[in-house]
């Protein structure tokens, strides 16, 4: 109803009505990791504008140029070129688009499957719960990379397949967490009172249970983006992920693998990009968890 604009929006404890509230909130933000994520997002969205060259444009005359600060380097290719003369900087920038979109879409897929499975298992219980949770346990017990390689090899390398593989491997974590929280919320007095008021199960799920799951889903998602990026890079590096001409970071690292001793810059920069991205997402995820985790907040 009208009184409840944004009833699902979590309130951050500090700030409201505080004269210095905004400043305190700003100061507590993890500015460096968040800045890194913002930069990555800009790179991903504006790749065509930022990258000096198209990512797959070859220029055999300019092969294996080192970064500009090393003798033989040139500011035309600030981070050097690879063995086909492709600009490493352009490929890393385009790689942000590929890697971030794979990771985010995969996390959404995993989160959606996991949330549905977890809510059904937690709310309805009984045999359905036992069956669904044993399946989730089975998925958790399998070594992810091994299955990913197998699936990737079977399905063939493509964007959709990488998303499907990561989504399929990561949903059980969401399912387990959502089931546990659904059980706890289902037992709470406000759900009992909703039943006393005559709310249907659908209504209880939509207005009481799901909104209370959102904070921890966000936390888990932000912590898993990093893992998804690493898995995507691993698959691409092994040749069962994003197909090679496309500039996924894993693909670029693999391109330079054979020339690590002579042309280290090909692998180093996409590698750094992966490390920075994963670190930035994990630190931000930690921060979100600290701010939103109901268990920490209620104390």
């Amino acid at each position: 109803m009208a009184l409840s604009k944004g009833s699902g929006a979590p309130r951050l404890a500090a700030g409201k009505g505080h004269p210095l509230g905004l400043w305190h909130q700003l100061r507590e933000l993890p500015l460096v990791p968040m800045g890194a994520i913002a930069l990555l997002l800009v790179m991903a969205i504006a790749a065509p504008l930022l990258a000096p060259y198209p990512p797959t444009e070859q220029s055999l005359l300019d092969r294996l140029m080192p970064p500009f600060w090393i003798a033989g380097g040139d500011l035309l290719h600030p981070l050097g070129t690879d063995h086909y003369g492709r600009d490493v900087l352009s490929r890393v920038i385009w790689g942000a688009r590929v890697s971030l979109s794979v990771a985010l879409v995969a996390i959404v897929v995993a989160g959606a499957i996991g949330t549905v499975v977890g809510i059904i298992a937690g709310y309805f219980g009984g045999f359905i719960e036992i069956a669904l949770m044993r399946v989730a346990d089975a998925f958790l017990a399998i070594p992810a990379v091994l299955v990913a390689i197998m699936l990737g090899a079977t399905l063939g390398p493509s964007f959709e397949n990488v998303v499907a593989v990561i989504g399929l491997l990561y949903w059980p974590r969401y399912a387990r967490q959502v089931r546990g929280e659904t059980l706890a919320i289902k037992g709470s007095d406000y759900v009992k009172l909703a039943r006393v008021a005559g709310c249907s199960s659908t209504r209880i799920l939509a207005t009481h249970i799901f909104p209370n799951l959102v904070p921890s889903l966000l936390v888990l998602a932000s912590l898993q983006v990093g893992a998804a990026i690493i898995l995507e890079a691993t698959l691409s590096f092994l040749g069962v992920g994003i197909p090679p001409p496309q500039p996924a970071w894993g693909v670029i690292v693999e391109d330079g693998r054979g020339m690590l001793a002579s042309a280290w810059w090909i692998s180093l920069f996409p590698g750094l990009a992966i490390a920075i991205t994963v670190l930035a997402f994990n630190l931000t995820g930690d921060w979100i968890r600290d701010r939103l985790d109901p268990k920490l907040r209620s104390r």
């Binding site: 109803m1 009208a2 009184l3 409840s4 009833s7 699902g8 979590p10 309130r11 709470s188 007095d189 406000y190 009992k192 009172l193 909703a194 039943r195 006393v196 008021a197 005559g198 709310c199 249907s200 209504r203 207005t207 009481h208 909104p211 209370n212 109901p294």
Partner: protein, 334 residues
């Protein structure tokens, strides 16, 4: 105010929880008799208080009345209709007529809903009202329970315990219920706030003609607002009487023990009865005969032999017909 037909009636209601055991947990090895043969009725406009120690089955009783759980045996009727045979329309009517306020004001309000939305929820489900009508009603309810109407936009964590309990009461009132089940409505609150909330409940009852079933573990809490008081021990009633009668002359030894516990905090009043010793026995394996005999200060040898029945000794007053009770009554008569 009170009419003769009972609003709520429980007839020999039992709730047993199966306890599983065995190596795979598939065998039923026993039953917890949380509620074991409960009969009482509540008339319109009246308050029935159910008093007893933790674990005596009073909260289970509340949940059975609210149809959050189904009884193992026996019947619960509301307005003469059995709850277990209600059709969809009947259930809808029941949900709109019986509301509840629970003990813990911190877990009974959804932290992600505004107060206005929490109060309006039963109306959204039960009544076809326009948004404007609903907002007006929420504002009216909030004033009625002593909150300000502007507070409808706030979230529960911005309120104190007493205020949260007021919100819970406003929500319960929103659909004009006939009966409100109050499950220890003040026991989680500061002592200084308790009287305020109890007075509010009393006022609302006088104004709106509500019936209450109030659960409490202290006789002192229910003293000033109960028309009838039922004392429960291990899933059974040991005594049920009009409030004034019960406080004037508690008959069952357990009621006397609760009564002296309630009075022992009063300065200058000597303890007239020995305080209760020991723990409440397990409802998984209740004592034979009178369930209270292992802790009863007046227990006789025959108390453990046969299970005493609840008998009516005065109009509206029933007590377990235990040998020691009979002796106490005749001793008092002399």
């Amino acid at each position: 105010m009170a009419t003769d037909a009972p609003l709520l009636e429980l007839t020999d209601v039992r709730k047993h929880y199966a306890v599983s055991g065995g190596p795979l947990g598939l065998k039923t090895v026993g039953a917890v008799r949380a509620v074991d043969g409960l009969s009482f009725s509540v008339r319109a406009g009246e308050t029935l208080s159910i008093v007893g120690e933790s674990g005596c089955g009073k909260t289970t009783t509340a949940r059975l009345i609210l149809k959050l759980e189904e009884p193992t045996a026996g019947a619960i009727s509301f307005e003469g209709r059995r709850l277990d045979t209600l059709d969809a329309a009947g259930l809808r009517h029941f949900r709109g007529s019986v509301q509840a306020v629970f003990q813990d004001p911190w877990s009974s309000l959804n932290p992600r809903m505004t107060v206005g939305r929490i109060i309006a929820e039963p109306m959204i489900v039960q009544a076809r009202l326009s948004r404007q009508d609903r907002q007006d009603r929420v504002a009216e309810l909030m004033t009625q329970v002593g909150l300000r109407r502007e507070q409808a936009e706030l979230y529960p964590h911005q309120f104190s315990g007493g205020q949260r309990q007021r919100i819970a009461i406003a929500r319960a009132l929103s659909v004009d219920p006939k009966l409100i089940v109050l499950d220890e409505p003040v026991s989680a609150l500061d002592v200084s706030i308790r009287a305020q909330i109890l007075n509010l409940l009393k006022d609302l009852q006088d104004r709106l003609g509500l019936s209450y079933v109030m659960i409490a573990h202290h006789l002192a809490t229910v003293r000033h607002m109960s028309h009838h008081v039922a004392v429960m021990y291990l899933g059974q009633l040991v005594e049920i009487a009009p409030g004034r009668e019960l406080f004037r002359r508690p008959l069952h030894p357990y009621t006397q023990a609760l009564y002296s516990a309630a009075l022992s905090t009063h300065v200058g009043r000597p303890l007239s009865e020995p305080a209760l010793k020991g723990e409440i026995p397990s409802p998984l394996n209740p004592p034979s005969g009178c369930r209270f005999h292992p802790r009863c200060p007046h227990a006789l040898a025959e108390c453990s032999a046969s299970e005493p029945a609840l008998v009516e000794i005065e109009p509206g007053r029933r007590v377990q017909d235990c040998s020691c009770v009979r002796r106490l009554i005749s001793a008092a008569a002399k």
